[in-house]
Amino acid sequence: MASPAIKSGALVTLPELQPSSEFFKEGASLRVTGKLQEYSAETAIAVVADESATLRIDTQHLRELSFRVGSVFQFIGELHIQPNNEAILQARTGRNVDGIDLDLYHQSLQLVRQFQAERMNNSTT
């Protein structure tokens, strides 16, 4: 039963994931969603994009997933900041989410954050 606690991947959009963002931290557990722009079967590195923002994903643990450029994928994993300040997400889970309504997803994500912030404030006051 003694397994290390699995951290929840905080919901974040790719455009938000800038070096100045609170999410841009070594080891941060995140959940990201974007369209697959590139994938190398050799290195298992994928690049996902949302608007003009992109993120590299290390998918070496997700060998069963079939990567199709142009499809939308969602990954949960840990962020690693490389010496050149470029980030890569070491993915623990990944899934194809073709058909997701991304506008609704982004808007709902903001509502979930607001709700969570309100509840956290209430419980500390």
Binding site: A10, L11, R31, L62, Q74, T93, L104, Y105, Q116
Partner: protein, 157 residues
């Protein structure tokens, strides 16, 4: 909805909300959501861990982006004294159902989990009654919105 009981309803909750429920001092199977006593919950999220003890239980984690919630699905129906007073045929059906659900619980799948809220070593978790794997990519977004609406309209106070 004022005054109606949520005690026997599977309340739809975001993970962080479930983990912050307050245990009742009087009754170990009751928890407080604001002022409402509740005992069952429905959560939905990505399965991010899976640890199976054959013929005993499967312990898995559901991550909905707000928290990772531990879920326990018992697989001991055929050898637990708890089930010995029930019809053997019924127990076999329950065991088969649990086995089928356990097979669906795979890392990366999105699961809708319903069950009893329980406390184990001070941490809240869900003792699973059923798991359904969601294939609609919008299921999680719609679940979030359900949770927010219900929190404001029904679970408030």
């Amino acid at each position: 909805m004022e005054g109606s009981s949520l005690q026997n309803t599977h309340v739809k909750l975001l993970g962080f909300n479930l983990l912050s429920l307050k245990p009742s001092p009087m009754n170990s199977s009751t928890f407080y959501l604001n002022r409402h006593p509740v005992s069952r919950a429905e959560i939905l999220g990505v399965i991010t861990s899976r640890d199976q003890k054959p013929n005993k239980f499967i312990k898995f984690t559901v991550d909905d982006g707000t928290a990772a919630v531990t879920c326990i699905l018992w697989l001991n129906q055929l050898n637990s004294p708890y089930f010995s007073s029930r019809q053997p045929a019924t127990v076999r059906v329950l065991a088969d159902l649990a086995k089928g659900m356990a097979a669906d619980v795979q890392i990366g799948n999105v699961g809708r989990v319903r069950g009893r809220i329980t406390s184990y070593r001070g941490e809240l978790q869900v003792t699973v009654s059923d798991v359904v794997i969601e294939r609609d990519p919008n299921a999680e977004t719609l679940h979030w919105l359900d949770c927010l609406t219900l929190a404001r309209r029904c679970y408030g106070g």
